[in-house]
Amino acid sequence: MGRYRGRILRGALLVLVTNSLFIFGPRVLGLAIDDLGQGLQNHSLGWYIGVLLGLAVVSGVTRFGMRQQLIGTSRLVERDLRELFFERLLALSPRFFARQRTGDIMSRATQDIENVRLASGPGMMYSMDTLMLGGFGLAMMLSMSFRLSLVVLVMLPVVSVIVYRISKRIHRLTLLSQKQYGRISSHVQESAAGIRVIQAYAREEYMAGRFDGELEKYLQIQMSLIRTDAAFRPLMGALFALSQAILLWLAGTDIVAGKLQLGEYVAFSTYMSMLAWPTIAIGWVTNLLQRGDAGMRRLDEIIREPDVLGEGRAVGRQGGAITLQDLSFAYEDGPEVLSHIDLELPAGSVLGVVGETGSGKSTLLKLICRELEPQSGRVLLDGKPLAELKLDELRAEMAVVPQDAFLFSETLRNNVRFGKEHASEEDFLRSSEISRISSDIEQLADGWESAIGERGITLSGGQKQRSTIARAVLMQPRVLILDDCLSAVDNHTEEEIIGELRQYMDGRTTLIASHRLSALRGADRIIVLQEGRITESGTHEQLLEHKGLYADLYRRQELEEELSHGGDEHA
């Protein structure tokens, strides 16, 4: 915010000018009324009117400037904050994203930034405005009559405290209500995203019942909020009316006693209603500033979050040899998923990763592409620890097909081009050829330009998977990581893709995790993971020889085939 100091100072100055002009209005009006009572001895009516209008116009202009400066600044601050926030998000480590819920990050990006903005713009403007108007108004009133000013001096703190209390309560309830609102919207979100499951199991009524429960809770919170809110404004109004009544009584007796002019009373009463706003505003503004402060603290948690992906040095194009040294990993407060993995993978070789469900294959691959970071041990690319490499370069060297085919709600073309927007049409077609997604294009309504819906909902399972393969292949990386990426593809297509890939993989280090052993044909080396450890390692033949899990998995497929043939023969 330091960079906007000039704007803020200018704004503050304008607030000062505005208020010092504005404050004379009621006084002039009062004088005019008194002068009227005496038959206009001092000035003509036109003079009063001229002064009133002059004051109004000039303070109007400065008020315009003050809004422009101060509130405008808050929007600049907002933009800067949001940009900084996003920039930091991009730098944070995946551990952070595993820890933090999307909804929570989003609420910081929306609610908290808004709170900071409110504090830094309107909050700042109104606090200056309030203090000055209050101060000037009070001074004016004191200069007219100390006795009458007492009413205000007593009322002012009382009202401010009440406002502060109530708005605190309102704030607390608002937070509760926002939280509940958040639950309502995530319920809707989950219901819409999981609609296939809900309808397939005819659970609409159950989900609706749960939804009703959330709504009922929301209603309760809203009602306490409404009750508090409903009391607030009328209460303020009543308090001010009360002070007006006291003023009227005091002023009335003074006028009757000849100690006060009617005009002075009018001016005084106008000042009092003018002060009504600052008194309410003090409580409100304090709250605003507090909220802004809390918001800033929450934002700081992310902006200053130390768990960032370290930026290493640029080292230039790599060869693609991967080394794992004593690598161990556990997810947040979970058991160890990988323990003491050692592995040496020469550049350009192909590694197959096999293992039972949940044995840690995906985790291992995520560690290698630095989507996760190990608790202990290191991953080296061409002898250099990943953590010391420039992330951008590292990513340029690697392309990943994750087990979960995540696609964006975009056209198919843009999804494939996601990693390389400016790839040549030739490369683009080639990669769609390799992944065999090209053969499905004519089945899609708008071909490459088909919008594929959220997460690719309008594609078949295999089409989705093949799109993600195309996306990775287009990157032309040194290191290609394929995580169970042919599970939804038929044998024929699989065969074609593997055939194409084999040529493509030439010279690229490739890691393939798969349950289909057929996809691992041609691997230079295969490792078997069992409960986070490498239990077997070697070529296909060596592993068969070893008669371990791999051989068992392999024989299982073989055996079943033979069994079935045998069965046929018996039939």
């Binding site: 998000l89 809900i198 209603l219 009602m223 409404i226 409903a230 819906g453 057929s518």
Partner: protein, 592 residues
């Protein structure tokens, strides 16, 4: 129903429908309106009391009278406070109840919609309808309509009083009204357009953020950080520019209103002052006038704002009604379904998701009760689509599907689906515990759930967890491995104990050993039940009683494994590919 359009003026039929929603709360609404009238009367009377105090009591030096007048003043204030309070609580309550009613019916309508609608409607849009739009619509009851009524009422009252006191001064005061109106509506127009752009940009910023946070891993892996930051900077700056524009409008508008207010005050002083000098106007009236002037301008100034709220609410209402007026095209019949035998017949079924691109062409087959059928074919050939049709997610354009000899359409939808269980190709897990995900809110006995987990090979893993079945699963099951997610979804289907089991690539992400164990474990369970299995790993389906081969949406082969191997068609080719070494391939040959 009118087309989607931006509501220009006020749409009376829409308004009528909206006020119709008040009907269940008729007497409450009536109460709220009478309270508004009372409050407005109280509040308008106050300056008159002050006038009385100045002109009669103070001018006459009657302190006793002044005391009485102030008492009246206080009574009016108290009355105003009480009526306002109850009115706001009442309107707030009505508004909230309507919100609940609306959300309930919207939710039920949305979840009963046919799948085709969900394919076209983004989740974000559905969320907006149920959250923001309903909230905006509520503004109509708690803010818009009532406040406008209230403002108009006090305007009328004030103008009445002004004319009653002194029509010349009243005219003077009213003279600035057209200028204020003009400025206000000009302002409203500018701000409305700007706000619309702001809203769109805010939505852009948030959607962008949301998608980038959920897809952060992919963004990273494909090095989109710099590019995405650039895109973000662009929309962010555009949003700021748009905000700055509205700030300009506001910075002009608010001071301008103050100036106009001062002009009116000056005018009153000018005309009124002369008349006081002439002795035709009392001081009290002049003061009351100045007082009313203040009360008079605020509602007019706010009218623009409230009109805006009203229009927003109307636009939201239109979108909400659009969903409420849309009836699901797939609904059930009357037929109950005590127990399913499970005979499925497809008769010349044609289906396409989008016009002109047939996905299933003239599909006919029969699955006899209690038998197992496998669907095989290249990716994208329409296998999952057949499962979707069985669940009545979509409706075939031609032909019909019979279950136990009755057209699917004649069954009650929930009954029909309750008898079936499917493992969807796209696994979806809810945020919640493993238990919730398996039971989906049914209170199954623990034994049944454990049994389902055992058969799918999940039990050891679950028991190894500290919290067992009460382990929390994160958004979309991201805290489980790919295979584990699939197994949970499988266990969900088994726990359901269906008469008809549909498995769409249910074990594609599971290792072969676990797959084999599952097959053994469910073999006895499937005895006597109909099952339809879709699988690319042919080893899992060769025992099926019947194998159907789909190719480009056509049923090209059907028969047992043996028959199809003899046929040497697509199935045979797929099979040969799977038996990856030549030995297995030549093993297959001699049988032919």
């Amino acid at each position: 129903m009118p087309d989607r359009r931006d509501v220009k003026g006020l749409d009376w039929s829409l308004l009528k429908r909206l006020t119709g929603m008040l009907r269940p709360y008729g007497w409450m609404a009536a109460g709220a309106f009478s309270l508004i009238i009372c409050a407005a009367l109280f509040e308008t009377a106050i300056p008159l009391v002050t006038r009385h105090a100045i002109d009669v009591d103070i001018a006459g030096g009657d302190l006793e009278g002044l005391r009485g007048t102030i008492l009246v003043f206080l009574l009016l204030v108290a009355g105003g406070f009480v009526t306002r309070y109850f009115q706001q609580v009442l309107t707030g309550f009505i508004g909230q109840r309507i919100v609940v009613d609306l959300r309930r019916s919207l939710y039920r309508r949305v979840t009963s919609m046919q799948m085709g609608w969900f394919d076209r409607t983004p989740v974000g849009q559905i969320m907006t309808r149920l959250t923001n739009d309903v909230e905006n619509l509520n503004q109509l009851f708690t803010g818009g309509l009532i406040l406008i009524f209230q403002d108009i009422l006090s305007l009328v009252l004030i103008v009445g009083v002004l004319f009653w006191m002194d029509w010349r001064l009243a005219l003077m005061l009213l003279a600035v009204v057209p200028v204020i109106m003009l400025a206000t509506f000009q302002f409203k127009k500018l701000v409305r357009a700007a706000f619309r752009r702001v809203r769109a940009l805010v939505a852009d910023v948030n959607t962008f953020l949301q998608e980038n946070i959920t897809g952060m891993a992919v963004v990273r892996l494909f090095r989109r950080e710099a590019r995405n930051r650039e895109i973000f900077e662009q929309i962010n700056t555009r949003l700021m520019d748009e905000h700055l524009r509205t700030i300009f409008y506001f910075a002009v508008f608010f001071p301008l209103m103050e100036v106009l207010g001062s002009v009116a005050t000056a005018g009153v002083l000018w005309v009124g002052g002369g008349r006081v000098l002439d002795g035709v106007l009392t001081f009290g009236t002049l003061v009351a006038f100045l007082n009313y002037a203040e009360r008079f301008f605020r509602p007019i100034r706010d009218l623009a704002e409230k009109y805006n709220i009203l229009q927003n609410a109307m636009a939201a209402a239109e979108r909400v009604f659009e969903i409420l007026d849309r009836h699901p095209t797939i609904t059930g019949g009357e037929q109950l379904l005590p127990k399913l035998k499970g005979e499925i017949v497809f008769e010349h079924v044609h289906f396409s998701y989008e016009k002109g691109i047939p996905v299933l062409k003239d599909i006919s087959f029969r699955v006899s009760a209690g038998s197992s059928t496998a669907l095989v074919g290249y990716t994208g050939s329409g296998k999952s689509t057949i499962a979707s049709l069985l669940l009545r997610f979509y409706e075939p354009q031609q032909g019909r599907i019979l279950l136990d000899g009755v057209d699917l359409r004649d069954y009650r939808l929930d009954e029909l689906r309750r008898r079936m269980a499917i493992v969807l190709q796209d696994v979806f897990l809810f945020q919640g515990t493993l238990w919730d995900n398996i039971c989906l809110g049914e209170d199954y006995p623990e034994e049944r759930v454990r049994e389902a987990a055992r058969r799918t090979g999940l039990l050891d893993w679950v028991d190894g967890k500290a919290e067992g079945f009460h382990t929390e699963v994160s958004e979309r099951g991201q805290s489980l491995s790919g295979g584990q997610r699939q197994l949970v979804s499988f266990a969900r289907a088994l726990a359901h104990n269906p008469d008809l089991l549909l498995l769409d690539e249910a074990t594609s992400s599971v290792d072969t050993r676990s797959e084999g164990l599952i097959q053994e474990a469910i073999a006895e369970l499937l005895k006597g039940r109909t099952s339809v299995v879709i699988a690319h790993r042919l080893s899992t389906i060769q025992q099926a009683d019947q194998i159907l081969v789909l190719h480009h949406g056509e049923l090209v082969e059907s028969g047992t494994h043996r028959e199809l191997m003899d046929h040497e068609g697509i199935y045979h080719r797929l099979w040969m590919l799977q038996s990856r070494n030549g030995a297995a391939a030549s093993n297959g040959k001699p049988e032919a």
